[in-house]
Symmetry: C2
């Protein structure tokens, strides 16, 4: 997605350890107009799917998920990173974070995910695919149909796409794909 590629090249910052900082428009400051453009592109790419719920994970995914849900007129659900004491009955699974080198839990209430849900999962980054695999597991527990996954940015060199395919996700769309961050330089894949 050209407009997103340009923003990443202009404002993204390479960090050590394969991390890309996009705090200017996605992860801390949010450009809501860009979120709308991104949502429209997701709608275009997943146009053939009969989606009735947008799923994401707190916190950075919430902005794009809200905008996408608004445009598609479907509810949005965000998985929480630990089970609140107020949530009585939940599906949960453990996700390993490579960047933080720890495990954390993601949780959704049984009230909001079930067999009638045809889910599109969206998130800011696809890296190693661990969060995505956790989402596959939550949808499996709930009996929900996971129709596809959309990511704003994919770090191809961390091979999350392979992990998601192995977990049974057939439709994966990433709007900007980073081939490498070697030598502190952002190398983008040419996308449609």
């Amino acid at each position: 997605m050209k407009v997103l590629d340009n923003r990443i090249l202009q404002e993204g910052v390479c960090l050590t350890g394969g991390a890309l900082k996009v705090d200017f428009f996605i992860n801390h400051q949010i450009d809501p107009y860009l979120m709308k453009q991104i949502s429209i592109e997701f709608i275009r790419r997943f146009a053939d799917l009969d989606i009735n719920k947008i799923l994401t994970v707190e916190a950075s995914g919430i902005a794009v998920a809200t905008m996408l849900g608004y445009m598609m007129e479907v509810p949005v659900l965000f998985a929480k990173k630990k089970q609140p004491i107020t949530m009585s009955s939940a599906y949960h699974t453990t996700v390993h974070s490579f960047t933080k080198q720890n495990d954390y839990e993601i949780v959704v209430s049984k009230d909001f995910l079930g067999p009638n849900d045809r889910v599109l999962f969206v998130d800011d980054f696809l890296a190693f695919g661990n969060t995505g695999c956790g989402i596959v597991e939550l949808c499996r527990q709930a009996g929900a149909t996971l129709l596809g996954m959309g990511f704003i940015i994919e770090k191809e060199f961390q091979h999350g796409r392979d992990a998601l395919r192995a977990a049974g996700v057939n439709r994966i769309e990433s709007l900007s794909i980073i081939e490498s961050l070697d030598n502190g330089t952002i190398h983008l894949k040419t996308t449609k």
Copy 2:
């Protein structure tokens, strides 16, 4: 705000300890169309202010802040609940949570808040006002002008409004105001 009052009465759940669960449309599942209606109401109530940035706190505030920023065509910034290792230079302050009985830090990068910012802070709940007071302190550190604060739901019996006024916030708007949750019943104040 009538449509919000009705949703709270129909779908809100009283919990022990003065908590209100609105997981059906704000805190876990999000109704994005309601977020748009809420945003429009905030725009109406703050129409006289020259706002150029929306500020919120992760995670539940991000949905309404994104929609409001989109409608107003201004950037959105969400304070983080701990300083990421990737954030080099930040304003931070400590906030006490009455519900969780612990202290946590809220942080914004120095890159995104400064003397040119005329800020509207929005969040899902006004309870004791501790987060809001933390926001006042972050804006003070940054030299930003905090023009007002908007809350989806105010729990009046926890007196956060008094705390915010004492901290120097002159404009506070809450779209639904809860007078009490006594005996497991939601008592709403009649609002315009």
